[in-house]
């Protein structure tokens, strides 16, 4: 039996055995095939629009909810039922790697066809002509009238051209815990002095007066800079505008929350989710929050007696921060008309409404009302003109990170606010220049 097995193995070896000539011949054939294979995609009309059958539109969006993918299923189905020639391939783009993923996708020539963009992300892609010009294509004029003119002219706009359709907003206003304020004998602050008074009088034991969260602390600081009468950069977008007496006052006020009044938890200790949770658990009296909190509080934390108010007025007035997101089409998209059908649908009253009702975020369209019975809703709607956004500049991210490192140094007591802004100004301008 063993002998027969060995004999079979020998035969088999002879069958597959090759002499040197055959070996080189095989290598040559395989190498040729591999070379031909590697050349094929560039020779073939790969990805060219099919003459028949549905086309696929790739859609990427970063999540605003843990069930992001689930929320898009019925919306995509509704669209595909109405447009049998278009298939939507949806991918959730994680926030933490969105920048790197988008950069590599565009640089490698394999971007999504349609993508959701936070307004401040846009300029560096637009400068390199990766987003489609919606004005030139005639798309923007089709839907422009359905939006607030000011919002439409600002959010998807860069240097006077429209590069997408507004989708949602994340405006922040001041949330106050009425019980904590009442227990401390104070009411919701309307001025900066009242703000620190409320903050200090509600800070006791493990309860805090106010909380700001990471990452993106700068969004918590900017309103105070604006309210002081300073700005982040000049209107031309050429240099820093924060290093003024007003700007330094704003930073001094901000730094004092930690260093003088000690009304905030340790710097760097809370992320956004933890900070919101702290408010829900009544561990903090005030927090600058977006409207998801107002949506969640009555449903999930009915015991929390809260109010939403405008930011306390500073020397130059009261302002708050919001980032907005829009939906755009890649310049490289091969099915622009089909992609436009999808963009038009998801930014419509039905499409955007279906999504935003699920996630509870602020709609970019005035005809969508997602939480009209919520007491916070009028505060959001009536104060939208006091909202400002991040500056639009292709190098703003680097400039802002450099600025923030100096602000951190001031918060941690390594430098004074004046020194921080003096150093930050040079760093910021250098980054803006590219």
């Amino acid at each position: 039996m063993v002998a027969r097995e060995n004999s079979r193995r020998d035969e088999s070896a002879r069958d597959v055995g090759v002499n040197r000539r055959q070996f080189f011949k095989t290598v040559a054939v395989l190498s040729g095939a591999a070379a031909a294979g590697s050349l094929m995609p560039s020779c073939m009309p790969g990805g060219a629009p099919a003459s028949k059958g549905p086309v696929t539109v790739k859609f990427w969006k970063s999540p605003h909810h843990e069930k992001e993918a689930d929320f898009w299923v019925p919306i995509i189905k509704q669209f595909e039922d109405a447009h049998p020639n278009i298939k939507i391939e949806f991918s959730v783009l994680p926030w933490y790697e969105a920048g790197a993923r988008l950069t590599t996708a565009f640089a490698s020539g394999n971007p999504p066809d349609v993508l959701y963009v936070v307004d401040a992300w846009g300029p560096k892609y637009i400068e390199s002509k990766y987003f489609m010009d919606f004005d030139a294509a005639g798309y923007s004029k089709e839907v422009k009238d359905q939006f607030d003119a000011q919002l439409f002219a600002k959010v998807p706009n860069y240097l006077g051209k429209t590069y997408g359709i507004p989708f949602l907003g994340v405006p922040r206003f001041l949330y106050v815990n009425n019980k904590m304020l009442k227990d401390a004998g104070v009411s919701a602050p309307t001025t900066w002095d009242e703000f620190t008074k409320v903050g200090t009088s509600t800070t006791k034991g493990d309860k805090w007066g106010y909380v700001v969260f990471k990452p993106g602390y700068w969004q918590a600081f900017w309103p105070w800079l604006w309210m002081a009468g300073a700005d982040i950069m000049n209107p031309e977008g050429t240099k820093a505008a924060f290093n003024t007496p007003e700007g330094v006052n704003a930073l001094q006020f901000f730094v004092d929350w930690w260093r003088k009044y000690k009304m905030l938890p340790d710097y760097g200790s809370y992320d956004q989710e933890q900070a919101e949770d702290l408010f829900y658990r009544q561990g903090v009296a005030m927090e600058s929050g977006h409207n998801i909190m107002a949506d969640r509080l009555p449903k999930e934390w009915p015991d929390v007696d809260f109010d939403v108010v405008m930011m306390p007025k500073g020397p130059a007035g009261a302002f708050s921060f919001a980032d907005f997101g829009y939906v755009t089409i890649s310049q490289a998209c091969q099915y622009k008309d089909e992609a436009w059908q999808w963009v038009k649908f998801i930014t419509s009253k039905d499409g955007a409404g279906a999504y935003l009702k699920n996630v509870g975020l602020f709609p970019a369209r005035p005809d969508i009302s997602i939480m009209e019975k919520n007491k916070a809703w009028p505060v959001y709607v009536n104060n939208m003109e006091k909202i400002r956004g991040a500056p639009m500049h292709p190098h703003f991210e680097e400039a802002n990170n450099r600025m923030w490192a100096q602000i951190e140094a001031a918060i941690l007591g390594q430098v004074t606010p004046k020194e921080a802004f003096a150093t930050a100004e040079g760093d910021f301008n250098q980054a803006l220049a590219g």
């Binding site: 070996f23 190498s31 200790s269 933890q274 292709p394 680097e398 140094a409 941690l412």
Partner: protein, 310 residues
């Protein structure tokens, strides 16, 4: 292709024959090289070409999204003069100094201990487990452990009537805290490598040592350490290379802050490449890091090189 190989073969054979090498030896070597070719091709395509490519990119200005243009070596003085790069390089070296000795000594200590306990497999698995966990998940869990208010680390300090610390928010503590995570995570790899190395040391050598009076610490220092020196060198070189590339825990836990106190070279590289769209600067940082790694590795190999046969 075959014709080319056939043409190339004849002059190679005759050249070697002129130098007195037997024809059969040459043929055998050619076949050996042919079989080595896939690995060599892999090495060239994925190791050599990227380094050359990166060097080429370091001579460019521009980004992945923008057009690039040749600027010679200008990026090198720009990067070296940048205080953020110097801080990042210093942090990276400090981080390596904190992590490497800790994982090597603790790894060896635990490996020796593991040889003497019961349920070896269970303990080996337990020690190795953190190495298998995804860094993002490990970092999130770790951030809860060191949270200033509800983290168990500060709870323990409070129980001992010691002041709670802001582990990741204090510039003095942030880097050691991130290093702690990396020690916890990479210890298992070193333990497993050392356990395998210790298992290969012949028992007869210890017996001979015992006859000469070598026991306990003396046996460990004079027998074990010299015999596993090649493995120590391997783990040292690997730990150096890995830790100089420190990125993921910084990315998840601190984003280089506060005030650049945890900024590492690869974090700085990543930001420049993917957020600031400065691929030339990023490539320059990569080449400088490669040079530092190469120098440190060569020193380690030269100092610790030994030939051990047993």
């Amino acid at each position: 292709m075959y014709a080319i190989l056939k043409k190339m073969r004849a002059p190679i054979l005759s050249a070697f024959e002129r130098r007195g090498v037997k024809r059969s030896t040459i043929s055998r070597n050619l076949v050996a090289y042919a079989f080595l070719a896939p690995s060599l091709a892999f090495f060239v395509v994925f190791m050599i070409i990227p380094v050359i490519w990166t060097f080429g990119l370091s001579l460019q200005e521009g980004g992945l999204l923008r057009a690039t243009s040749f600027i010679g070596l200008s990026n090198y003085p720009t990067v070296i003069r940048d205080p953020r790069f110097r801080i990042a390089m210093l942090n990276t070296l400090l981080y390596a100094v904190m992590v490497i000795p800790a994982v090597l000594t603790m790894g060896l200590f635990l490996a020796v201990l593991l040889r003497q306990v019961v349920f070896k497999t269970f303990f080996k698995s337990a020690v190795f487990f953190p190495h298998l966990s995804a860094m993002a998940i490990a970092a999130v869990v770790f951030s809860y452990m060191v949270h200033p208010e509800f983290g168990p680390l500060n709870q323990m300090l409070r129980l001992l009537h010691l002041p709670a610390q802001n582990w990741l928010g204090d510039p003095q503590l942030a880097l050691p805290t991130v290093a702690l995570l990396e020690i916890w995570r990479s210890l298992g790899f070193n333990v497993i490598v050392y356990v395998a190395a210790l298992g290969r040391v012949p028992e007869e050598i210890y017996e001979a040592g015992r006859l000469d009076g070598a026991h306990g610490w003396s046996a460990f220092w004079h027998i074990t350490v010299p015999l596993i020196k090649p493995v120590i060198l391997f783990t040292l070189v690997m730990a150096t290379v890995w830790n100089l590339q420190m990125f993921d825990s910084v990315f998840v836990l601190t984003r280089g802050g506060p005030v650049y106190s945890t900024a590492t070279v690869v974090w700085f590289l990543y930001d420049n490449a993917f957020y600031y769209d400065k691929v030339g600067i990023a490539a320059t940082i990569a080449i400088l890091l490669l040079l530092v790694t190469l120098v440190l590795t060569l020193i380690q190999v030269r100092v610790l090189r030994s030939e051990v046969e047993y």
